[in-house]
């Protein structure tokens, strides 16, 4: 598990607290990297834990950062809320080097949190966690009627879809007309 402290928007982040080491110390000293979300809180995460994320793993495998360089250059994930990134980091730490269990009961139960978590996990390409999250999202509609499903997943009605499509066409038409007018103006 990693702990965090409030970061700032400055280039050099505050010193983060180190995640507790596992009981069995690794033979080779483990390297650490730093990530922060929208709230700028910096999380120190081991390379082993970050292996769950195909995106970050791909990034770090080419960098060859030293500890100092990694600390000075945390990976910014401005599109991920701080609490969501915290959940992701916690999950990666908990499942570091372990086979992932078939179920994960520690996922958020609140709809909006789960929704944001799914987006973050998909962006960070954490396959196993995405699978758990999607299972959880699917469970939400078990035993529900179509109207209840619509409400839970906020699925538009056919009329709403048609209206949105018309609106999009109208907008696209206006933009095309605008571009044509601008092009004509340039030609003059």
């Amino acid at each position: 598990m990693s702990s965090t402290e409030q970061g700032t928007s400055s280039a050099a982040p505050a010193e983060p607290t180190t995640a507790p080491e596992s009981a069995a110390a690794p033979e080779v000293p483990e390297s650490f990297y730093y990530v922060h979300g929208k709230d700028k809180v910096v999380h120190k995460v081991s390379a082993g834990a970050l292996q769950h994320s195909a995106l970050i793993h791909g990034m770090i495998s080419n960098l060859g950062y030293t500890e100092e360089q990694a600390k000075a250059n945390p990976f910014p994930f401005e599109n991920i809320d701080g609490d969501i990134l915290q959940m992701v980091v916690d999950w990666c730490n908990q499942h570091k080097g372990k086979p992932t269990p078939p179920e994960d009961t520690n996922l958020p139960k609140q709809k909006e949190k789960l929704f944001d978590l799914v987006l973050a996990v998909n962006y960070l390409e954490i396959k196993e966690l995405l699978t758990y999250c999607c299972k959880q999202v699917a469970m939400m509609v078990k035993g529900k009627s179509p109207e209840e499903i619509r409400e839970i997943w906020m699925i538009p009605t056919d009329a709403e879809d048609e209206a949105a499509e018309k609106e999009a066409k109208k907008r696209a038409g206006k933009e095309a007309a605008g571009e044509t007018a601008a092009a004509a103006g340039d030609a003059k």
């Binding site: 709809k111 909006e112 789960l114 929704f115 799914v118 987006l119 998909n122 995405l130 699978t131 999607c134 299972k135 999202v137 699917a138 469970m139 939400m140 509609v141 078990k142 035993g143 529900k144 009627s145 179509p146 109207e147 499903i149 619509r150 839970i152 997943w153 906020m154 699925i155 538009p156 009605t157 056919d158 879809d161």
Partner: protein, 394 residues
Amino acid sequence: MKLSKYPHVVQKEILDNLEYPELFLLSFVSKNMITLIKSSQVQRFKSINYISYDCCLNNQLIVKISSEHNEHENLVKIVEREETDNDYFPLNVSGKMIDFQLSRKCKFPVAAYHLYEKESVIQSIHNYFIHLFGDSMEYRWKTDDCKTPIPQLQNLSACITVFISPIHGDMKTLENVFSSISVLKSVDIFAQFPTEPFSTESKIYKAEYIRTNQLNHNVPEVLRYFQGRQAFLSFGLFEISDLIEFVNSWKSGEAFQKLEYLEIGLYSSVFPLHQVLSGIKAKYIAPTKKPPTHTLPKVYIANDNKENTDPIISHTYVVRESDGHVASVLIREKKLFFGVWDMREEKFLRIFEFSMVDLIYTESVKALVQVSVRYGVWCANTAYSNTEPYDNMH
């Protein structure tokens, strides 16, 4: 939580985690949802072998999905409406409003109909399945009710269990029900009591698969009129001359052209091996040669859950005069097996030669080689097969 905000790959993963009843209900939410389901679940829908309507007690139908991964998954139940229930919600099913309910007892939706609209409700639900699962899906109507006509639905074949006895209705009603069926997949007949004969034109003889348990081998006369692919017959009383007549009829090419497999079991007596083999003028392969194994996927998997026909390994065979095709014949006490090969005698004999070469090869490298043919599977080295080899020579 807006499902539409997720990228397609995530939407697909979520839908992959839904079971069929949930996908079915989700499909009613909007037209875009049906499109998403159909585009994201192509592989899952491809793995469906068939969808069955299982007729149960009290006019209930349970629609089940049989796939490569799961033998049967319940999809929806169709029942007569209980007026005391008040938790129905209407859904537009192919243009017809049908009341559904979700109960804790069933883990799948229940569609309810008034008796006067039963047929139209089933028709609408079936049309909806065609729309959702595609128009190439196979549907089976499974019933043991031979008094109620089977609906005429697209891609639907019937799988019927028939009990023939005075208490189970007259032959006329039975024949009428059979004649109303457009495609008869399988018939399972229990005819333990003497009854009137079936019409020689009876639809039962056109079933792809027939299994009988009959006291008298002439009721029904499968050995004379069957036009389907696979027959599994059990007889109490039996005339050897009728068996010889059947084989000779097959050899002439005038009848049983589609037959792939026949299995006859006798209740008590045993087949007179030499009388049968001489009567059918069987041909023999030298006992030093290793015969190939004839086995086929069953057209219909019955309660025994066996997916394939019993393997036939025999040095005895007969040849169809019209096209030179071969059938292996095996007699084993109370059982007779007749397996038709999709190959002419010349090729069949070459396989014998080849199997000898191959046997030596497999013995030396300890590998199993299997060659599939359209109507059968030939196992080059049966020593590694789990099945006990059957042979008239043993």
